[in-house]
Symmetry: C2
Subunit: 172 residues, 2 copies
DNA sequence: ACCTGAACACCGTTCAAGT
DNA sequence: ACCTGAACACCGTTCAAGT
């Protein structure tokens, strides 16, 4: 429970990531986070301004990791879409923290958000409007799936195929 | 602050709706809710099992209101989509409570969810898969907009038009 | 610089007690 | 049946105090 290695912003980000990944962001309290690091909650404030900054650390990490993977995925729309789906479903507790909470824009690495956005635009064929429409569809489907909102008998694969087809068709 | 009319489940739902609408669901505490009704927090538990049940009351109300409006909107895809957009943006604090939180399925009115779903399927032309793809797109775009995730210069109208065109095209 | 215990104003919820 | 005050185990955060 208390490895007590070196407590710094990186260690805090790592511990917070593990807690969220395992139990969801609701279970990320300053006390449990401190406990995982082997210190008491008030000590966290020597490294970090407040809980929002911890969230911002997670958002930065997640945007970086997602951005790298998205860039490394194949060039076709299908491959980009499938990567988006896989990353989101592989990180079901992290996903909402990056893509559904208010982005702490003044706290995350400058340029990181627009860099990821540019990749989405490029994947959508260069049109900003098509990029937003595509992103909305991917984000919406992921969210409905994570929140268990699709009917129990929903064929997820078929719906994703439909989404891919829709996007491909809208590009020419 | 304390009208003290009749405290029952309906009055609780009404007061909770007002609080969420005005300040967001994070500000809906059992204490503020009780205060608005002119009683103390523990008294709420004579009418309601817990906070989750209050959320369920809101989800029921919202599903009913949304469902009625969606049904009453015109028959074309365009009209359905525009209603969805308007309802969501007119109820920015209620929307996430119904469409982004876990649905308390055992607490909301039975059949209500599937009734609304059926309307979406019908609006999408009868195909379940197309309905899910359409819903994902509407939900995703609303969420990105509510969370301020679209670039500052984003032309929202144009993106919605793109979404409408995409859906129309995918139906034949 | 980094950590601590104690404290503050908040939570949801329980419970004994009143009417 | 409906309401209350007091209490419990939680929050985020501050602060004086230690090293």
């Amino acid at each position: 429970m208390s490895p007590r290695k070196k407590v710094n912003r990186q260690a805090i980000a790592e511990a917070a990531w593990q807690i969220v990944e395992a139990d969801g962001s609701a279970d990320l309290s300053m006390r449990t986070l401190a406990g995982k690091l082997g210190i008491k909650a008030p000590s966290l404030y020597d490294h970090v301004k407040n809980r929002d900054e911890v969230i911002a650390l997670l958002q930065t990490r997640a945007l970086e990791q997602f951005g790298e993977g998205f860039a490394a995925a194949g060039d076709s729309v299908r491959e980009k879409v499938l990567f988006y789906r896989e990353w989101a479903l592989a990180n079901p507790n992290i996903y909402p923290v990056v893509f559904q909470q208010f982005l702490q824009r003044e706290l995350i690495t400058p340029g990181l958000e627009s860099q990821v956005l540019a990749q989405v635009v490029s994947a959508a064929g260069g049109s900003h409007i098509q990029a937003r429409a595509m992103w909305a569809q991917l984000h919406g489907l992921v969210d409905l799936q994570l929140q268990n909102r699709l009917p129990a008998d929903a064929d997820a694969d078929a719906t994703w195929e439909q989404v891919i087809r829709t996007i491909e068709n809208s590009q020419h």
